[in-house]
């Protein structure tokens, strides 16, 4: 027996083993923490549930388009504002320069005038007073223009804020649309009797027209699955699931934008064959 081992088993080895156990757990904990910080977050990105019997591709192209347009408009406005500010600065600088020149010129004239006779000087003085008055007038006009410009800017700012609020409203509108789509999807799923000829991988795309009361006015097969009974079953499902009376509570503008016509995909994914 070597002495190292005997040293370890002092007091029957209890102290050593307790320390070893605690150290081991700390190591495991440290490893988990390290792994946790080292791994990128994409591992935990959750995705929307995709395994649904019937899928809706309609993710509101109108809404998306409109949001894109809004974003572009805001950007354009910001750019314009910047340009306007630059312009203003440039104008101010020019103005200053002009004044400076004016002043220099005046000083020179004064020097020339000092060489002239006193009567002439008096006359000059009168002229100068006149000129100063004009100058004053011009300056006042400029100030007025400046004020007007500032007001315009404030108005533009206010308009921009209003647009931002509208965008926020659109975001909540998106949620309303989502829940509406989920409802329709649920009703249609319940009403959908698949024919025996239905196979996995079949896909029928239907376009339905709806009234604000939730009634379906027409159903059109946009893309056939190639199996007539399947298409018919999908159409029947839509008709027997209507009316979607919950849509009545929806604000009319949201309805018009998103539900007036709706594209649905029917795709069985849970069949055995």
């Amino acid at each position: 027996m070597h002495s190292g081992l005997r040293y370890l088993i002092g007091f029957n080895g209890y102290p050593f083993s307790a320390v070893a156990a605690v150290v081991l757990h700390c190591l495991v904990l440290g490893f988990i923490l390290y792994w946790n910080t080292a791994s990128d977050s994409s591992e935990f990105d959750l995705v929307q549930p995709t395994v649904i019997k019937s899928l809706f591709i309609d993710e509101n192209p109108q809404l998306r388009e409109r949001r894109r347009l809004e974003r572009q408009q805001i950007q354009r406005q910001q750019e314009e504002e910047q340009r306007r500010l630059q312009e203003q600065q440039r104008q101010q600088e020019e103005e200053q320069q002009r004044q400076e020149e004016e002043r220099q010129r005046q000083a020179e004239e004064e020097r020339q005038r000092q060489q002239l006779l006193e009567q002439q000087r008096q006359q000059e003085l009168r002229d100068q007073a006149e000129r100063e008055r004009l100058e004053e007038e011009r300056r006042r006009q400029e100030e007025l223009a400046e004020q007007q410009r500032r007001q315009q800017q404030q108005e533009a700012e206010r308009a921009r804020l209003a647009e931002e609020a509208a965008a926020a409203a659109a975001r909540t509108e998106f949620e309303v649309v989502q829940s509406g789509v989920a409802l329709i999807q649920q009703f249609i799923e319940e009403a959908w009797n698949r024919p025996p000829s239905a196979r996995n991988g079949m896909r029928a795309v239907l376009r339905i027209g709806m009234l604000p009361t939730g009634e379906v006015t027409d159903v059109m097969v946009v893309e056939s699955s190639g199996d007539a009974p399947f298409d018919r079953a999908a159409t029947n499902a839509v008709y027997s699931a209507q009316p979607f009376s919950e849509l009545q509570q929806m604000p009319i503008n949201i309805f018009n934008d998103n539900f007036r016509t709706l594209t649905l995909i029917f795709q069985p994914e849970d069949l055995l064959n």
Binding site: M1, L5, R6, L8, I9, N12, G13, Y14, F16, S17, A18, A20, A21, V22, L24, H25, V28, I32, L33, N36, T37, S39, S41, F44, D45, L46, V47, Q48, P49, S179, A182
Partner: protein, 229 residues
């Protein structure tokens, strides 16, 4: 999702019941690992000392000399382990009974054997200490983990009931939180079960060699009685 969801966030964000269960499981795991290490040290020294002592015993050394060597070592403070203990107890009893003179040979043998049996069972007890705890941890901690999981999933579904629109994002963290408890339960149980199986077979082999040694030693003593007496 903006925030990252890792094991640590799950544990610290869990409900109180689940956290208590996790705490119990981690405590069990620490204790069972302590026992695993301690038993490893004890059993490996026992195995080594069996080997060493058997070598010395069968080297042809005089038994009285071997006994004296052992006494000397004991005085030096070296702990007597396993097989040597059995030998010393048996030999001591044998010598004492023989020195009384008028004791019958069979009675001497019987006395020595009885003393060795007692020493043997004491040694066996020493080796098997705490192994039952490992077995308990191994079989119970998965159930404790499952209990925590059930509570966690229950909480997740209660939270789901209050939602109007059930999405995966609502349920997923609760279920992940619940599953991590099972993971910790298994983390505690697996080493305990492995160590229990390993150590009980080790104890079996060591006690088996003790029994064999006891038999061989009594046959030697028997021979000694009948050749001299």
């Amino acid at each position: 999702m903006g925030e990252q969801l890792g094991p640590m966030q799950l544990i610290f964000g869990a409900s109180l019941e689940v956290q208590i269960v996790i705490f119990i499981l981690i405590a069990l795991s620490i204790v069972s690992w302590g026992i695993i290490v301690q038993r490893y040290l004890v059993l490996s020294t026992a195995e080594k000392s069996v080997h060493n002592f058997e070598e010395r015993f069968w080297s042809g050394i005089d038994l009285g000399l071997l006994y004296k060597e052992g006494s000397q070592m004991q005085e030096e403070g070296v702990a007597m382990a396993g097989m040597e203990n059995i030998f010393r107890v048996g030999f001591k009893e044998f010598m004492r009974l023989r020195q009384q003179g008028n004791v019958d040979g069979e009675a001497v043998m019987e006395g020595a054997q009885r003393a060795m049996r007692v020493a043997y069972s004491r040694e066996e007890e020493k080796l098997e200490r705490h192994l039952a705890f490992l077995a308990t941890v191994g079989s119970v901690s998965p159930y404790i983990g499952l209990f925590g999981t059930v509570i966690g999933i229950m909480n997740a579904f209660i939270g789901l009931a209050s939602q109007t629109q059930a999405t995966l994002q609502v349920v997923a963290p609760g279920i992940a939180e619940a599953l991590i408890v099972t993971a910790i339960g298994l983390f505690a149980a697996i080493p305990a079960v492995v160590a229990y199986n390993r150590y009980s077979s080790k104890v079996d082999s060591v006690t088996g060699s003790y029994i064999t040694f006891t038999d061989e030693f009594s046959s030697i003593l028997h021979r000694q009685i009948h050749t001299t007496g």
